[in-house]
């Protein structure tokens, strides 16, 4: 059992259970620990948000789950990596292919480059359908139209024969979601699905994802750097920094009572839209070089609460409430309002 399920007190067996996932990229002397002992679980129907900046390892995490990383440069290990009870790291490539698309589906950040430009949308979705079910081209075309309809493409029957260059970014993202739904997956991994889209279109896509999730009961793992999106869509949130999870909890716990200095710093960096702020409290310094990470806390050099012990050894998770974990020993015994702000 994972720390997560123990702490959340949930009796449901998690759909996805990850314990101590570690992903290392190395070639001749340079090692990048892209994910370090990442543990998280997702229950059926739940939405998990993963927040982090570049280098946090959130995209690597998604790809590692589906074993999409080429394993000569990447080395993936974990104590558990189970999906619906099946150990993904022990599965053969054949079994993984079954899981990809029909168990876990993925949608990517840039819809313009995620679809094949020389195939029609209908053919691409149709191909996916024909892979999973034994149906002919006609039926696959019909299935594609139905899926496009479901994701809100108007005049789907007419547009199904168009090419990606004829569609806008928002429509292409809907097409990607349609493709992801084709295999009737139990879980969708969405890696920054709206980052490349305009705000009003982003709004539409997020509503779509929420609606689909309610309808199908799928779990959703939403990776984003936008705190607002996470706040509005997720049940639980994992905050990642330099390849590690630094805080894990329910959305209200994370947003109303953030405990890790990085989480607090991140929330302070968001400029509120509804009031004027005179000075933004920013986190000083730069994200660390992932090849030079030491044993201790990766955030230590930028943290205002740092003490000697922070760089000495691995930081264990501390429990604030059952279900709210922080990788920071200082988080428990400190008054939040006394956190100094960056005056630069």
């Amino acid at each position: 059992m994972t720390t997560d399920t123990i702490c959340s007190g949930s009796n449901r067996l998690p759909l996805l259970d990850v314990v101590d996932l570690t992903v290392v990229f190395g070639n001749g002397g340079r090692h990048v620990v892209a994910n370090h002992c990442v543990s998280v679980s997702v229950a059926a129907g739940e939405t998990l948000g993963i927040v982090g900046e570049s280098g946090s390892g959130k995209s690597v995490f998604c790809r590692a789950l589906l074993r999409l990383l080429p394993t000569p440069p990447a080395r993936i290990s974990a104590r558990h990596l189970t999906f619906q009870g099946q150990e993904l790291l022990q599965s053969s490539e054949r079994e993984m292919r079954r899981i990809r698309g029909q168990g876990i589906a993925m949608i990517f950040q840039n819809p313009m480059s995620s679809l094949n430009p020389v195939w029609t949308i209908g053919d691409q979705i149709g191909e996916v359908l024909r892979l999973y079910k034994r149906i002919d081209r006609r039926a696959a075309q019909g299935g594609a139209i139905a899926l496009l309809d479901k994701v809100g493409i108007a005049s789907a029957a007419r547009r199904v024969n168009e090419y990606p260059f004829q569609w806008s970014g928002g429509m292409l993202q809907r097409a990607m979601i349609a493709m992801a739904l084709a295999g009737e997956p139990k879980m969708i991994l969405a890696d920054e699905p709206t980052t490349a889209l305009d705000v009003t279109i982003q709004d539409q896509i997020l509503s779509l994802l929420m609606d689909l999730q309610r309808e199908t009961g799928m779990a959703l793992v939403l990776v984003s750097h936008d705190m607002g999106i996470i706040a509005e869509t997720c049940d639980r949130v994992a905050v990642m920094y330099a390849g590690r999870i630094v805080e894990l909890g329910s959305t209200s716990e994370i947003f109303n009572g953030p405990a890790h200095p990085y989480t607090i710093g991140l929330l302070n960096s968001v400029i509120p839209l509804d009031r004027t702020v005179r000075r933004l409290a920013s986190i000083p310094g730069q994200p660390p070089d992932l090849t030079l990470l030491g044993v201790g806390c990766a955030f230590a050099e930028r943290c205002s609460l740092v003490v000697d012990n922070c760089s000495k050894g691995p930081i264990p998770f501390h429990q604030i409430t059952p279900g709210h974990l922080v990788a920071c020993p200082m988080a428990l015994n400190r008054d939040q309002s006394s956190l100094p702000v960056d005056k630069r």
Binding site: D203, M210, H225, T233, T251, I254, N256, T276
Partner: protein
């Protein structure tokens, strides 16, 4: 000397954009010429008028196709002007081929990765600018480079690094230093923080605010992130499909938006409130293609308030001394047709 408008303080505006129109023609092919067909053009900017007072920061917001980037680039002389006038400090730029002098107007670019020459150490980028424009004497170049680096918050030892060994935030700082090296009085910033991580964004916007104060810069801040604009700008202009739909002080536009598009835009932005959304998207429908712009009010294809009246070009309604909105239904205090320029 063509007479120019004055700002409310009676000072000559630093930048004046007077009924600017920028059209892009798609490639005129031989076939088009043969058949006597007019080649299709896109009006990226249509009859836009704006003024920026000295020392002021104007935020220009909009989504894809709004024309905001085109305006920025046209101010630098990078696009040909199809109609209208540009004035800098009261001087009409048409006599200079609509290109301002490099020492008057500079630009900070969006892409921290492409905006620097990958082969040059960043200090030599700055040194080259100083030398070419003879900003300081030859012997002072080194110390001026050091001063510029410190001005943007970077340690001078980073000067001999090449861009690939610097982070995104550091590269943007260099881009800023490069623009400031010629000591311009007006700076155009084209989405300067869009590609940066949240915590680095906060650092860079703080830097911009400080520099603006220190150097008395006049700025045009182009962005699609409204929150950043709120923090940095004094006044805001909202654009949609090549037209300005609303202008006003930051407080006016963000707290009392009067144009339906501005209102929808603000509502579409996810809030940091940890509540799972159950709502429909704020605006349905796609942004119209720039080749196929709706007649009359351009927003009417997606506007919740649209009626038949909207097929007529909406007037520019003056809501206060500084606040205007181009909508038939905005609450009028005084009515102006959009032919008259608004002077005090």
């Amino acid at each position: 000397m063509i007479e120019s408008n004055t700002t409310s303080q009676g000072a000559v505006p630093r930048i004046e954009i007077d009924r600017l129109t920028v059209e892009f023609g798609t490639r005129r092919t031989f076939l088009h010429a043969l058949l006597g067909r007019r080649h299709p053009t896109v009006r990226a900017v249509d009859d836009v008028s704006l003024t920026i007072a000295p020392g002021e920061t104007l935020g220009l917001v909009g989504e894809s196709g709004s024309g905001k980037t085109t305006i920025g680039r046209t101010l630098l002389g990078l696009n040909p002007v199809t109609g209208g006038r540009l004035r800098f400090d009261g001087r009409d730029l048409a006599s200079q081929n609509n290109r301002p002098l490099p020492r008057d107007v500079q630009m900070v670019f969006q892409d921290p990765y492409g905006s620097l020459n990958p082969r040059l150490p960043v200090a030599s980028v700055l040194a080259e600018v100083l030398r070419f424009h003879k900003i300081v004497s030859r012997s002072s170049i080194d110390s001026e480079v050091r001063r510029l680096l410190e001005l943007v918050g970077m340690s001078p030892t980073l000067g001999d690094r090449r861009p690939r060994n610097l982070s995104g935030g550091q590269r943007q700082r260099i881009g800023l230093a490069r623009a400031l090296a010629v000591r311009p009085s007006f700076l155009v910033l084209d989405e300067p923080v869009a590609a940066l991580d949240l915590s680095i964004q906060a650092q860079v916007v703080n830097l911009l605010k400080d520099l603006r104060q220190e150097l008395g810069l006049t700025m045009l801040f182009i962005a699609h992130e409204l929150s950043v604009v709120r923090y940095v700008a004094d006044r805001v202009a909202v654009m949609y499909l090549g037209r300005i739909v609303e202008t006003g002080t930051t407080a006016e536009v963000f707290e009392q938006p009067r144009h339906p598009y501005t209102q929808s835009l603000l509502k579409s932005i996810p809030r940091l409130v940890p509540e799972k959304r159950h709502r429909q998207p704020v605006i349905a429908g796609e942004i119209p293609s720039p080749f196929d712009i709706p007649s009359g009010c351009r927003f009417r294809s997606r506007c919740p308030l649209a009626t038949e009246l909207c097929a007529i070009e909406p007037p520019e309604v003056r809501l206060s001394l500084t606040h205007t909105a181009a909508c038939h239904f905005a609450q009028p205090l005084m009515e102006h047709s959009n032919k008259e320029s608004f002077d005090v």
